[in-house]
């Protein structure tokens, strides 16, 4: 209703999303982050295409052509641009699939954690009192679980019957990562809401008789979202590392499927990287760049979205 009203005016109403992207692009670290993150996303999307072009599947072994007579994997050639691993599998193809898995696990897990954390933080912070105390205790409880031990036992429980795991291990990994990261989102949003609740514009909305859900939706959530969004970008690389950790420990994405974590674990098990460093360097450096890219992006977002800058210009 009011949107329509505003658009009818001759004022130079530059769209706020365009301004946002311009400012983001002007920020150096956000620009670097955006470039790296888009390259990574492209890489993940191109995994099947590259596999098709090279004619090497994710789990296909080419022992005859990719291993030397001594059984040592070859380095980069035209057929294997980043060399092969000790089973004769294409490192490039596997890394691209690994990136895809990393994003497919970490992005939903972080987003889910954000939504749960936002919900709990909003309810606790806005309602206060007993509800808030319960939420706080819940967060404390969750955050006091040791990550690796809990994850290992949950995933071990999942490997029950003869017909393989009860639930798809990647779903369990998503669940575990979500479980361990929503608490931070909840704490952050609760703190923000506690501060907002004291602001006079929230008082004014209450005095006008605006129902609570509407105040939350129109005044509180838009004010909280930018900070939470920045935190999403901060938490994401941590969760990518968490997925890699679980896969490295052998409880994440099951072999023979590729994930950056289990690729690094393979390398370490065979000790072959001493003669053929390519198949350690590729997944490790890729992991490094993913984390770097998202960290750049998050700090750029923080520069652009800093509520204090926007507040009193």
């Amino acid at each position: 209703m009011s949107q329509q009203l505003l658009s009818e005016l001759p004022e130079l109403a530059t769209s706020s999303s365009r301004i946002f992207w311009c400012r983001l692009w002007r920020d150096k670290s956000a620009r670097h982050g955006l470039i790296i993150v888009s390259l990574i996303t492209l890489a993940a999307l191109s995994a099947s295409l590259v596999a098709y072009l090279l004619g090497h599947g994710e789990t296909e072994q080419f022992r005859d052509i990719a291993l030397s007579d001594m059984g040592i994997p070859i380095g980069p050639t035209a057929a294997f641009p980043f060399g092969a691993d000790d089973n004769g599998r294409d490192v490039l193809v596997r890394t691209l699939y690994g990136v895809r898995v990393s994003l497919l696990v970490a992005v939903p897990a972080t987003t889910l954690a954000m939504l749960i954390g936002l919900f709990v933080g909003l309810i606790g912070g806005y309602q206060g009192g007993k509800i808030d105390a319960v939420c706080q205790q819940l967060i404390n409880l969750v955050l006091s679980f040791p990550f690796v031990v809990t994850a290992l036992s949950l995933l071990a429980l999942n490997q029950g019957g003869e017909n393989g795991p009860h639930v798809s291990p990647s779903l369990v990994v998503i669940f575990v990562i979500t479980f361990f990261s929503w608490g931070y989102f909840a704490r952050l949003s609760r703190g923000l809401v506690l501060d907002l609740r004291q602001q006079d514009f929230i008082h004014a909305a209450k005095l006008m008789g605006v129902p609570s859900w509407r105040i939350l939706l129109r005044d509180v959530i838009p004010a909280v979202l930018p900070t939470i969004g920045v935190f999403w970008a901060i938490q994401l690389p941590a969760n990518i590392v968490a997925e890699a950790t679980l896969s490295f420990l052998g409880v994440g994405i099951p072999a023979p499927n590729a994930s950056l974590g289990n690729m690094i674990a393979d390398v370490q098990r065979s000790a072959m990287y001493q003669v053929q460093p390519w198949f350690l360097a590729t997944p490790a450096l890729t992991l490094f760049f993913i984390v770097l890219g998202f960290n750049y992006l998050s700090s750029g977002l923080r520069n652009v979205l800093d509520p204090h800058l926007e507040y009193r210009q």
């Binding site: 209703m1 004022e11 006079d200 838009p222």
Partner: protein, 549 residues
């Protein structure tokens, strides 16, 4: 010879953006020079240039000679030798200029140790003497207290103690009383005057308010847009201002009394009956929480169409009372009736959004920055109350064109241009924001507006315009206004009746004439004495009239 001479001082930010243009002024030893101007006039920048504290990206040209030393040629180290030791500085915001984690005693010690080597005992002695000198009682006990345990006025006293610690020849005070209550402001000005006499130093007093300056200055410099408009002896400048701008500034200093014709008040609208409220004092968890009585047996009536003033210092409970009346807090005992129906009291839940009279009591807040959602445009902010009112009165929402019309009408009523609907609050001035807040309350068609220090954060000219707006709105709509303020002068200019609140009790009430001419209580007299600049030439109507040059 002048103590400080500033010649041809120009401050610019990037070429082409000149903030201060070739100004000249000087300060004689042990005189008080007041520099007056609106915000953005360059008054603070000029003095920060003297101190060498301007941001690095600003370029300074011109001569600054202090005590025979050419400060404009000094390097950072040499400037540091002068600052604090020979030029003391007092800033506007005592909240952010004291380190929150260091005791006040430590902070004064640091100021001394930055320039002198003093033994521990002698140091403590000096700091204690300074604390007593600036009027902090029980100095020995408060020595180790952190700033959080001091009130705003007390913190400003600590700042002053730091400024005078090394007996500087010049003290620069940048709006030292603007953030303070009227009574505290008066006491700080008295303190500065006494200390200046005692130490024989010169004082540069920066302010946006000519009236505050009237009590303290020997000479006055009026600045605007980076230029000096006029400077001269106080008497000459106040009584025979040469420039139109000076005259405007002088006239704005004194609020014109608005309610010359008071309406006849017959219908009580809001009745407050024996209301009390106490809060548990936050203490350590093992100590017993002793409640503090914030409001004590408050009774009064607000009539239809009345503007009632509520005056008191901060901590007197006036904000709590305002919150209870709008329904953001509840009384522990006593009742508040609105239009002869129970509105608030023990056992009555706070009026929620379903309450039939929820729209009737609205509030205008002190801080125009936090009372508007920074993420919503003005048009959107004003649409909300209009739609709520439409649903209440007609059972349906307004169409887009009706809404646009209604938003325009609201903006016109508070004297704002309709073009503002696409602006965000951050793009508005303080006065414009406060008008938007008033428009938002008007959109609810309220019967009562509670204005809690609604003009205190604004500069004096804007204060005056907002007061006129309130007065006009009352005349047009028969609105009742409860106007809460610490400033007796503002309240007298607007209100039909004044209640004086002290420590949670109403100690005096009456019309502004009664209160001003025959104050009954010592406390009321103190509030009246705190009004600055009473020695200005006024006519019988209480309005300022400078001689025409």
């Amino acid at each position: 010879m002048a103590l400080l001479t500033v010649r041809n001082l120009t401050i610019s930010l990037n070429p082409g953006n000149t903030l201060v243009r070739a100004i000249d002024f000087h300060v004689e030893p042990s005189e008080t020079l007041a520099i007056v101007g609106e915000s953005g006039s360059g008054k603070s920048l000029s003095l920060l240039a003297v101190l060498g504290l301007l941001p690095a990206e600003m370029q300074v040209q011109g001569e600054i000679v202090f005590n025979g030393m050419a400060l404009h040629d000094f390097n950072a180290h040499q400037k540091r030798q002068i600052r604090g030791a020979q030029i003391g500085y007092i800033s506007q915001d005592p909240l952010s200029n004291l380190h929150p984690l260091k005791s006040v005693g430590r902070q004064i010690e640091e100021a001394i140790l930055a320039h002198q080597r003093v033994g521990r005992k002698a140091l403590r002695h000096r700091v204690l003497a300074l604390l007593e000198d600036v009027g902090i009682r029980d100095a020995a006990r408060r020595y180790h207290d952190k700033p959080a345990k001091f009130s705003g006025g007390m913190r400003q006293r600590v700042m002053i103690a730091i400024a005078i610690a090394l007996n500087p020849a010049l003290i620069i005070a940048d709006e030292p009383t603007t953030a303070l209550d009227a009574t505290v402001q008066a006491s700080i000005i008295k303190l500065l005057q006494r200390l200046q006499k005692q130490h024989g130093c010169a004082l540069v007093f920066i302010s946006h308010n000519l009236r505050v300056v009237a009590d303290i200055a020997d000479r006055v410099v009026v600045m605007r847009h980076g230029n000096i408009v006029e400077q001269g002896e106080k008497q000459t400048l106040f009584h025979h201002p040469q420039q139109q701008y000076t005259r405007t500034l002088l006239q704005a200093g004194w609020h014109q009394h608005e309610s010359s014709q008071r309406p006849v008040l017959t219908t009580p609208l809001l009745t407050v009956e024996a209301v009390s409220r106490s809060y548990p004092l936050p203490g350590y968890f093992w100590s017993r929480k002793r409640p503090t009585q914030v409001l004590n047996d408050i009774s009064f009536t607000l009539h239809r169409g009345e503007i009632l003033g509520l005056v008191g210092e901060s901590g007197s409970g006036k904000t709590t009372l305002g919150k209870m009346i709008v329904g953001l807090d509840s009384p522990q005992s006593g009742t508040i009736d609105l239009a002869a129906k129970p509105w608030a009291g023990p056992g009555i839940s706070r009026p929620g959004h379903q309450h039939p009279l929820r729209h009737a009591v609205q509030m205008v807040f002190q801080d125009p920055y936090s009372s508007l959602n920074p993420r919503r445009k003005v048009g959107d902010i004003l649409a909300e109350p209009l739609q709520i009112t439409a649903r209440r009165e007609q059972g349906k929402l307004l169409s887009a064109s009706e809404l646009q019309q209604a938003v325009f009408t609201l903006l016109t009523r508070v004297e704002l241009s309709p073009e503002l609907i696409n602006r965000y609050p951050s793009q508005l001035s303080g006065g414009q924001r406060q008008r938007v807040v008033i428009a938002r309350t008007l959109g609810m068609k309220p019967q009562i507006i509670v204005a809690d220090e609604a003009v205190s954060a604004l500069d004096i000219t804007t204060q005056h315009r907002i007061i006129q707006l309130f007065s006009r709105l009352r005349a047009e709509t028969g609105l009742s206004i409860l106007f809460i303020s610490h400033d007796m002068d503002v309240v007298a200019a607007l209100c039909d009746r004044i209640l004086v609140l002290e420590a949670g009790r109403i100690i005096e009430q009456g019309s502004p004439e009664q209160i001003f001419q025959r104050p009954q209580q010592a406390w009321t007299r103190r509030l009246l004495e705190a009004i600055p600049g009473t020695q200005l030439p006024f006519n019988e109507g209480g309005n300022y009239e400078p001689a025409i040059a």
